[in-house]
């Protein structure tokens, strides 16, 4: 019956080659977790920074979970997308990070990656846009054989999450 309340925001992203980025996010949790309130997925606006290369979204996250077990601690899945001058969007990076387990305020930096693809694809990506994407991003982010995937590093997504656990101590979980 423990509760976990995550309040925070996706502050922005830095270090991406592209500008004008937006982010799709969702929170995955195990079957023991029950969403009490809040939205567990969403999408930010496109930010096209003019000054430096940090895209700011300040997208709010406010989810309230109840759980009956620790397994499947909530994870954030992030997809950063890039919107080019023609209004087309292409993937800029995948990333995922666990919601911090300790109570309090956390600044989380989530590194992202994207599939590298073959030389042809890379060339096409440079010239035409688009790029290799995961066919099924959901399961892939949790897949054990992820090392098979050839990726390249993308930028970092910055999050600020305040974690409010409740009644975990009652079940012997210190947080």
């Amino acid at each position: 019956m423990a509760e976990l309340h995550v309040i925070g925001q996706i502050v922005g992203a830095s270090g991406f080659d592209e500008s004008s980025l937006f982010c799709k996010w969702d929170i995955h949790a195990g079957s023991a977790w029950k969403l009490l309130a809040g939205r567990r997925e969403g999408q930010t606006q496109v930010d096209d920074p003019q000054a430096d290369d940090v895209a700011y979204w300040c997208h709010p996250i406010d989810v309230h979970f109840a759980t009956k077990g620790l397994q499947g601690w909530p994870r954030l899945h992030l997809q950063v997308w890039h919107r080019d001058a023609f209004g087309r969007s292409a993937l800029a990076g995948y990333g995922f990070c666990a919601v911090p387990a300790r109570a309090g305020w956390h600044g989380v930096a989530c590194g992202t990656w994207r599939p590298r693809g073959g030389p042809r694809q890379r060339l096409a990506r440079r010239l035409l846009g688009g790029g290799p994407q995961l066919r099924r991003p959901g399961p892939a982010l949790g897949a054990a054989e992820r090392f098979r995937l050839r990726t390249e590093a993308a930028g970092t997504v910055h999050l600020q999450l305040a974690v409010l656990p409740r009644h975990f101590a009652r079940y012997g979980v210190q947080s």
Partner: protein, 1607 residues
């Protein structure tokens, strides 16, 4: 330090013993000793802590000096505990010690004087110490005395030392002021010391030497102190010492020695002494085994040992040798003489993943896909759901053919042939299995085995084992034999039947003289060697006989045993019986009989000894059996062979019946339909049935599907000729497992049969009809049409070999989230489980090695399975250990009220949508909170007729509720879609122009008499709370209020409804002024006041006088939002109405007698309801303010009041006003502060409209709104299912109820009014209330009539359609009216005049009617076009309704875009159900009863009397009102009432309402306040009349009256 100390002591001793001449030597040793000390001191310097010492007392204090060193302030050394050891020391020793101490002290003082690197610090230490340790000082002095007394050696030494030191220093450290130092040393310091010494002596004299121990201690501590100082100083003086050392003559200390060198051999020799090198020789096994045991090799014994890790044998030998040297070294060796070792832990397979290679396939979930950069459409795609579109999956259904095993057209021969074929198939199948040979072989093998074990030649198998297995074998043999016999018998009978059928067939062919089937059976004979065969046969029989004999013998033995025991029992019983009998004989002879009798019953039967079986008999038996079952020796082996090589007799040669049959077959053909999820998806081509009743299709159907199939079914159809098609049978095909893929599936045959009964008039035997092969008709048989479909169903394989299989879980997608938490068994099923018991049995029989890790998994499984109740989980769990680690169970989690509340609130369930505070603790949430919600859930499907009084309405209400819910849920989702403007609030930077303007404004002259309208500040909803919002109602004036009339005999001529002409002509009424003259003078006052009630708050104005009062009062009413939620969608759903009631205040003089009347006034105030105006809050909310003159809803009959025609003071204004009857009130209503109405939901709806049309509509709308932003342009609306529909589709001529048309056949105007009234009678339900914050939903007219509820649009559409149906010219007006706001009216063209109809009230107005509630006209809509008003004005009075003028009206369809001719969404014709009269009558009674009860409830303190007479009169009167639609009956009625109720003062009125629910009726009655009268002798009358119109449209009349008897 330790040793140095010792050495020093030794030196001291020496120095004491030896003469002073040796001082020189001593000095030298001292320095040497110092030199030696230098080393540890250096260490001490390096690490501040001096090395700890043990043993010597002097060293005990080593730690404190260290501490002192560390902390320069210097802690006084703590005197150490008493040391008993010292008692042993002799006095001399003690003295020696003292001496030593003194000397060292002297040294130290010397050193102290030295200009040390940190002299000040040292000094301070010293001083401190001296201060602290006064007594010690005295001790020191004392010993100094002694020192002086005894010898001067030490002092000499001291002085020497001190003298030498500076010298040395100067020699090394140049330019040091040594002279000054020495001076200091000799004068200053020593003097002070001496002084102190003296003082000490004085003290000491008292203390004296007596206390030895104390002294000792003191000395000791002193010494410690000394030493401390010494070390301290030395630490800093290391350098000096070095120098000092070097400065000494080298030969004194150094000895030159040759370099030491150890030869290698020597080294080895030395090493040999303490090194052990184990040999590499193998260790004999005997050494490794304890005692003289033989090594035991487990592996040879058949036990699993596992593979040892590889170690080079030399290393192993070394290890073994070493271990053997060790104590108990043998423990390290196992039974086999090898070192104990675990099996090799190295896995054979690589655990490290192989290095990435591109050729290798990637996991499907990691597959990447190059996606082009695409523009994302507006439909926002979240991560929700499956990541991307999961393409269509494919199920391949291959239907290869159809074989009939019976068909009605089968001839007799076919029947036999089919049978033969079946038998032959069976034969082939058996032959393939060849069970008989298998079993025979097994039998032989077993026999051999038994033979072997009996012979016992094998030494390998120990005897007992073999002995044990023999009985097992024997049992096995018996079983096998029995099986074999059975199989043999089956084989033989099968062969026999085949031959029999074949013979029958042959005879049939002979009989009928033609052949129909190409079947031929050959029996091949296989000759066998007679002799061998016989031998084998005989041997077999002999074996069998032997076994049987043995068996019998065993049985016999067993039986014999049993017999023995039984016999024994019997004998003992017999004995007992006999003795008993004897006794009895003695005792009672006469009773013998009876006793005997009863005993007899219990007497056990004497057992019969078993017979020994005769061997001959058995032989006989065995031979008989063999004869029956087996081929006789020498008999050839028969092998049947079925071929289809026979020739079929051509039709010409056949008899007529057969020809007919063949022709019939030719006519027949068949096809198969494929049904997927019970829907036909495809069918095969129709193929004729061939003469051998086979149909070949050979078609593969690729079904592209999205979901997991529910069922796949084949339907087999047969067509005869061209016409008739009959369904033969349905075959369900199992849905293939996910592993079944196309290309790997064999064709399966699925049997089917049909219970169809077919009788044919030709040779065909038919189906379901009995027939016989015999000539006499006996042995009848009945066959059903049956056959086999050969097919295969499999999943297709897509490109890249990915099977196109829908995920199994997909079948639950709709409720996936709910199901996820339920057991995995639900989704996976138990099919994958195997029978554990069988497995365990097999494992036990197979004697698996339980130690072999290869079997570990299996063994574990078996142990789990077999260990009693520890059952194997009968499901596969996806999240293992989840259950074990759960904090709480699911039930508990679900029970949590807090969580439930949070979830419900989050889901925005109606009851909890705006529930703000959710308590933190469970206990703070009361159970009651959920009661309403649960009740609603429970009653969702239960129609509660009690509240609705009418079953239909209850159903409708339920339906509406559901539609509403579903729509709300849809829109709640849409509400969470935000636009940029919702999130980002950017204020525009004021431009220079604006700034300039405002500067100019400052310069403007002030005009206080011309106030400017200031825009009120709008308030956003979120920062509001209770009490912040007020409703301001400004009541300005009223016109034409009915006036009281005293009982008057004057009869007014009844007015008849005016024709249209009269209305439009705006001419004064036809009433003659002459009649009214009386009224002008007889006018009775009316004292009206207005009471405004809103949300249970009531405010009233002051009382004004006259029929045209002027109040001009502002009333302020607080507004409270439901649940304290002031968000816009909550405000939109406020259902409260503002009631503006008009009352007449009547004063009655109730002075009882005249003398009272003279002295005081005693009056009673009564209020009489005159009428009301209702304005829904939502209208005010949306309009922000309501300003205008409203018609007061005045009942058609107001007893005691009459409508005044103020013709006497007729003025121009009045003449206009008088055109419309009724009273009017001018109001101004607003909300303070102004609220921002919520925006309608921006949602794109699904639509079936043409894309071009939608584009055109959007363009049109954009054009219109750009020109006239305030005018609403409507092109598409949303229907009930949430789809966009082009608006003109709603307009279509429809037939009004025939009943209404028939009512006034000759007057079109009355009919129109009646129809309008009918439409108005359909209850009004604003959908902006029910669908809060949501745009309008338009229902079609039939839906509207079914629902019997709707808002303005539905009413208007229906009325417009009716008018069109009646042949009028009618349009829908989209406009703005008061008080409704944006609304829809109907415009008709009547005799060149435009009439505007209010569909909600049924009233109509002329175009130039000032009191027409329609204020603005935006568009007109007909069934084929839309016209947008592009005139300057939009008030109906000021515009031209001529739509043919394109300058005034902009049409949607024009020449450039012609009307394409839409089909309407409306039905072809409306069908009306007649209302149920009985139900209506019942409803009428119930309403009356309820209302009466309510009135009595509202008067709890008064007696409520009902005047029956009056009630009946009123009841009688109500139908009349309905008939006349409430017009023109007033005066007749009044007169009639007066006549009947002579001396009663009656005040009352009929209320007319459309019927939807009881609630509004009750509310309406209550709002009139009739019950509030509290005259003691008041009586009431209440009558209800319900008039039913078609389609259950009910008009309710309620007549309420209060009667007071006139005194």
């Amino acid at each position: 330090m330790d040793c140095s100390e010792e050495s020093r002591m030794i030196i001291m001793e020496d120095s004491l013993d030896e003469d002073p001449a040796q001082a020189e030597k001593l000095k030298r040793t001292l320095t040497a000793h110092r030199h030696r000390r230098k080393k540890p001191l250096r260490e001490a310097a390096g690490a501040p802590e001096p090395p700890p010492e043990e043993g010597s007392p002097a060293s005990m204090a080593a730690a404190p000096p260290g501490a002192a060193h560390q902390a320069p302030r210097g802690l006084p050394p703590v005197p150490s505990a008493s040391r008993t050891g010292f008692a042993e020391f002799s006095v001399r020793e003690r003295m020696r010690e003292k001496l030593k101490a003194a000397r060292s002290k002297a040294e130290s003082t010397l050193l102290q004087e030295d200009p040390s690197p940190r002299p000040r610090r040292l000094k301070s230490i010293r001083e401190k110490k001296t201060e602290v340790r006064l007594d010690k000082e005295s001790d020191k002095d004392e010993f100094r005395e002694m020192q002086e007394d005894e010898s001067h050696i030490s002092s000499k030494v001291k002085f020497h030392d001190s003298a030498k030191k500076p010298k040395q220093k100067t020699s090394v450290q140049n330019d040091f002021p040594s002279a000054e130092e020495t001076y200091k040393f000799f004068t200053f310091d020593f003097d002070s010391e001496a002084e102190r010494v003296k003082a000490g002596i004085r003290k000491k004299n008292e203390l004296n030497h007596e206390e030895e121990a104390e002294e000792e201690e003191d000395v000791e501590t002193h010494e410690e102190g000394q030493e401390e100082d010494e070390t301290d100083e030395d630490a800093h003086l290391v350098k000096d010492d070095d120098l000092f050392d070097l400065g000494q003559t080298a030969q004194d200390f150094l000895v030159v020695k040759p370099a030491e060198c150890e030869s290698y051999s020597e080294q080895l020799q030395r090493e040999k002494e303490f090194l052990f090198i184990p040999s590499m020789q193998a260790v004999p096994a005997s050494q490794k085994m304890p005692g003289n045991m033989q090594p035991r090799f487990l592996e040879d014994e058949g036990l699993y040992t596992g593979e040892r890790p590889f170690v080079p044998p030399s290393n192993l030998n070394i290890l073994e040798n070493r271990i053997l040297r060790q104590e108990q070294g043998k423990e390290w060796f196992g039974d086999d003489g090898k070192i104990l070792a675990l099996p090799n832990p190295i896995k054979q397979s690589l655990t490290r993943p192989p290095i990435f290679s591109l050729e290798e396939g990637i996991e499907p979930e990691l597959e990447t896909l190059y996606r082009k950069a695409i523009k994302v459409t507006a439909a926002s795609q979240y991560l929700v759901g499956p990541g991307d579109f999961q393409g269509p999956f494919q199920l391949d259904i291959d239907i290869s053919g159809l074989i009939f095993t019976h068909h009605p057209c089968f001839s007799r021969e076919h029947v036999l042939a089919a049978k033969l074929a079946q038998l032959y198939d069976q034969y082939l199948a058996r032959k393939q299995k060849n069970l008989t040979t298998l079993l025979t072989d097994k039998l032989h093998a077993l026999r051999n085995a038994v033979q072997c074990s009996i012979d016992g030649g094998d030494a390998a198998v120990p005897k007992p084992v073999a002995q044990q297995s023999i009985p097992e074998y024997k049992i096995e043999i018996r079983q096998t034999r029995r099986l074999r016999d059975a199989e043999q018998e089956k084989d033989r009978t099968l062969l026999k039947t085949i031959i029999k059928v074949w013979k029958e067939m042959k005879s049939l062919r002979d009989f009928q003289k033609f052949t129909n089937t190409p079947m031929k059976l050959y029996l091949r004979k296989e000759e066998v060697d007679q002799r061998l065969d016989e031998k084998a046969y005989e041997a077999e029989i002999q074996d069998e006989i032997n076994e049987l004999l043995e068996e019998c013998r065993e049985e016999y033995e067993k039986k014999m045993e049993e017999y023995e025991t039984e016999l024994q029992e019997w004998k003992s019983w017999k004995k007992a019986q006999k003795s008993k009998k004897k006794k009895k004989k003695k005792d009672l002879r006469e009773e013998e009989e009876s006793v005997d009798d009863c005993d007899f019953g219990e007497e056990p039967v004497k057992p019969i000894p078993p017979k020994m079986v005769n061997s001959l008999e058995i032989e006989q038996q065995a031979r008989e059996k063999a004869d029956n079952l087996r081929r006789k020796p020498g008999e050839p082996v028969l092998i049947p062979e079925l071929v289809l090589s026979g020739s079929i007799t051509p039709s010409e040669l056949c008899p007529r019946a057969e020809v007919l049959r063949r022709e019939d077959v030719k006519k027949r053909s068949s096809f198969i339909k494929v049904l997927f999820n019970s829907k036909e998806v495809s069918r095969t081509v129709t193929r004729p049935i061939s003469s051998d009743f086979r149909v070949h299709f050979g078609q593969i159907f690729n079904l592209q599907i999205f979901n997991w199939p529910e069922s796949v079914k084949l339907q087999i159809y047969e067509t005869v000729g061209i016409s008739s098609t009959t369904l033969l049978a349905e075959v369900f095909i199992p849905i293939p497992e996910t592993t079944v893929l196309t290309g790997s599936t064999p064709i399966e045959e699925i049997e089917f049969s049909s219970n169809q009964r077919v009788m044919l008039d030709h040779e065909g035997v038919g189906s379901g009809v009995s027939f016989s092969f015999e000539a006499d008709g006996s042995n009848k048989m009945t066959l059903m049409t049956s056959g086999k479909v050969s097919n295969s169903v499999s999943w297709a394989v897509g490109e890249k070999g990915v099977p196109l299989i829908p995920p199994v879980s997909q079948q639950n997608t709709g409720i996936a989230s709910a199901l996820k938490n339920i057991d995995a068994i639900a989704s996976i099923g138990t099919s994958g489980l195997t029978d554990m018991k069988k497995l365990a049995k097999w494992a036990a029989e197979a004697k698996l090695d339980p130690n072999d890790p290869n079997n570990a998994a299996l063994m574990q499984l078996i142990t789990v399975a077999t260990s009693g109740e520890a059952r194997v989980p009968d499901f596969f769990r996806l999240e293992q250990l989840q259950q074990e680690f759960n904090f709480v169970s699911d039930e508990e989690l679900n029970r949590s009220k807090r969580f439930r509340l949070l979830q419900l609130r989050n889901a925005e369930v109606a009851e909890f949508r705006n529930y703000k505070p959710v308590p933190l603790h469970e206990r703070e949430i009361s159970e009651k909170l959920f009661q309403d919600y649960e009740k609603r859930l429970r009653e969702r499907d239960v129609t509660d007729s009690k509240h609705y009084l009418d079953a239909h309405r209850a159903i409708v209400a339920n339906y509406l509720q559901k539609v509403q819910e579903s729509v709300i849920n849809r829109f709640l989702v849409a509400k969470h879609h935000f636009l940029l403007s919702d999130l980002v609030n950017e204020e525009e930077i004021p431009s220079l122009g604006i700034l300039g303007l405002s500067i100019f404004k400052l310069a403007e002259p002030k005009r206080p008499l011309k106030p400017r309208r200031k825009e009120r500040k709008k308030v956003t909803a979120q920062n509001l709370s209770d009490g912040d919002i007020k409703l301001l109602v400004n009541i300005i004036r009223a016109y034409d209020i009915p006036v009281r009339k005293t009982v008057s005999k004057l009869q007014q001529p009844s007015r008849h409804s005016r024709p249209f002409n009269e209305m439009f002509a705006a001419s004064p009424s036809a009433q003659s002024p002459g009649e009214n003259i009386d009224w002008v003078f007889n006018q009775v006052l009316v004292r009206p006041f207005v009471e405004v009630s809103f949300q249970r708050t009531v405010c009233r104005t002051t009382t004004a006088e006259g029929p045209n009062p002027n109040w001009n009062e502002e009333l302020e009413l607080p507004f409270r939002a439901p649940n304290g939620d002031y968000s816009s969608h909550s405000l939109q759903s406020v259902k409260d109405e503002v009631f503006i009631n008009l009352f007449d205040e009547v004063l009655y003089d109730i002075g009882e007698d005249d003398h009272e009347r003279g002295s005081g006034i005693h009056t009673r105030v009564e209020r009489h309801w005159l009428g009301c105006v209702k304005i829904p809050f939502t209208t005010i909310y949306f309009q922000a303010r309501i300003d205008g003159t409203f018609k007061v809803d005045i009942p058609p009959v107001l007893l005691g009041y009459s409508k005044e025609k103020n013709l006497g003071n007729d003025r121009g204004y009045d003449s206009v006003r008088n055109l419309s009857e009724g009273s009017y009130i001018t109001l101004f209503i607003t909300i303070e502060p102004q609220l921002i109405p919520g925006e309608s939901v921006r949602e794109k709806f699904d639509t079936q409209e043409d894309e071009k049309l939608l584009q055109a509509a959007a363009k049109y709308e954009a054009e219109c709104t750009s020109k006239f932003p305030s005018r609403q342009c409507l092109t598409t609306v949303v229907d009930l299912s949430g789809k966009s529909v082009f608006i003109t589709r709603y307009i279509k001529p429809l037939n009004p109820p025939q009943e209404l048309l028939d009512a006034h056949p000759n007057s079109s105007q009355t009919t129109a009014e009646l129809v309008a009234r009918y439409v108005a009678l359909i209850p009004f339900l604003p959908d902006s209330v029910s669908f809060a914050g949501i745009c309008d939903l338009w229902s079609t007219s039939d839906q509207f009539l079914d629902l019997l509820a709707g808002d303005e649009e539905e009413h208007a559409v229906l009325l417009c359609n009716y008018f069109l149906g009646m042949g009028k010219k009618a349009w829908l007006i989209i406009g703005n009216a008061i008080p409704e706001g944006a609304t829809a009216y109907v415009l008709t063209l009547e005799q060149n005049q435009y009439a505007i109809w209010n569909p909600s009230t049924g009233c109509f107005y002329g175009q130039f009617d000032t009191f027409c509630p329609l204020q603005n006209v935006y568009c007109l809509i007909s069934c084929d076009n839309i016209w947008f008003n592009i005139q300057e004005y939009d008030s109906p009075v000021r515009i031209n309704f001529d739509i043919s003028k394109p300058k005034l009206w902009k049409s949607f369809f024009s020449r450039s875009l012609p009307y394409p001719g839409f089909c309407s969404v409306q039905p072809e014709e409306l069908i009306y159900q007649d209302s149920d009269k009985a139900a209506v009558a019942e409803l009428q009674g119930r309403i009356e009863k309820i209302l009466k009860e309510k009135i009595m409830d509202w008067r709890p303190r008064h007696l409520t009397r009902w005047n029956r007479y009056c009630t009946s009169t009123l009841r009688h009167f109500l139908p009349l009102l309905e008939q006349n639609q409430g017009k023109d009956v007033e005066d007749d009625h009044q007169a009639e009432l007066q006549k009947q109720l002579g001396d009663y003062r009656v005040s009352g009125f009929p209320i007319h309402m459309p019927f939807s629910e009881v609630g509004p009726l009750v509310e309406a009655v209550r709002s009139t306040g009739v019950h509030t009268i509290d005259v003691s002798n008041v009586e009431f009358a209440l009558a209800v009349y319900v008039h039913a119109y078609p389609q259950n449209v009910l008009s309710v009349w309620i007549y309420v009256a209060s009667l007071v008897r006139n005194q």
